[in-house]
Amino acid sequence: MAALLGWALAGLPAFGSPRASLGILIDHLGPSVRHATDMVAVVNFDARGIDTLAEEFILLAAATGVAELLRRARGEESGPAVDQRSEFGPDPGSEALRRVGPALVGFTVLLGLYIVAHGHLSPGGGFQGGVVLASAVILVYLVARYADLRRAAPLPAFELAEAAGAAGFVVVGLAALAGGSAFLANVLPLGTAGQLPSAGTIPVLNLAVGVEVAGGITVVVAEFLEQTIVLRQRVRGRR
């Protein structure tokens, strides 16, 4: 197997000087055609937007599958199994965590939103920002009790967010159709490169993806968390 791969790799152009015409073209055309400054975003949300659409649905499907799997195993399909009065959270022993944590949550949310919003201008975008947003939610769990988390951020809200984000992407694509151009065409005003409102639909799609990813990842992590807590409850209940 290694030999085969070595043989294949020998057929590639030398490292550092790709023959990649597609990439070069995008680099040349991107700024003028789309008034964006981050070419990767142009590729992801414009030229190859359909790939990104499918990709966010992969996340949606996986999150759905995870939710389905872990919930059914707990024997319930509606509502949480975790006692709302439960005291479960991590060991509240770390003083540093308790002091700094809540402040970090706010900062993390802000960072996430920034990354999502500036996807077309600098490295980042909906996926990366969405994960950061989700980690803000997880941070809440780390510094507080799980019950607080459930109260502050009910799970159905995140599922809804996830679905809404995914749907949003499709709707933007369809809206382009309504305007007479192709599916997922960039039909909003392009603005000036380098400014926040520019590059047409790219920031809008970034936003949709950010919402979807934040929702999806939160659902996944929350389901795993809930599974762990239920197991811990059972163990403690047995003693």
Binding site: L5, F15, G16, I26, T37, R48, E55, G65, L69, A73
Partner: protein, 114 residues
């Protein structure tokens, strides 16, 4: 050495596959699968690199600057998301298996089946 990135990709691939095949713990198996997927990221990014080029982010610079291929970066981004999704799903399945069968060793699981 200009062959190094490709060698790394091949190495990751083979090591990961070996891990999947010989694994005795399902979580370890899932992580090895992730290693295998990482090899494709390395390969993709290596393919798109241009010596002495800048990242494909042109903050106010003219467009004829040499930049790295953005397409492979976009492809890698897509793959990372796919991999994360699959890993999450696999781990959920593994959690369930542990709950049902009480073991995470693929060899013992096989004996339990028939």
């Amino acid at each position: 050495m200009t062959v190094l990135p490709y060698a790394v990709a091949v190495w990751l691939l083979l090591v990961g596959l070996y891990g999947v095949v010989t694994s005795r713990h399902l979580v370890h198996l899932v992580v090895c699968l992730a290693v295998v997927q990482s090899s494709t990221y390395v390969l993709l990014l290596a393919v798109g690199y241009r010596s002495g080029a800048l990242p494909p982010v042109f903050a106010g610079e003219p467009a004829h600057i040499r930049a790295v291929d953005p397409v492979v970066q976009a492809l890698t981004l897509t793959d990372v998301v796919v991999e994360a999704a699959v890993t999450a799903l696999l781990l959920a399945i593994v959690v369930q298996i542990h709950k049902r069968f009480g073991t995470l060793d693929p060899d013992r699981l096989q004996r339990l089946r028939r």
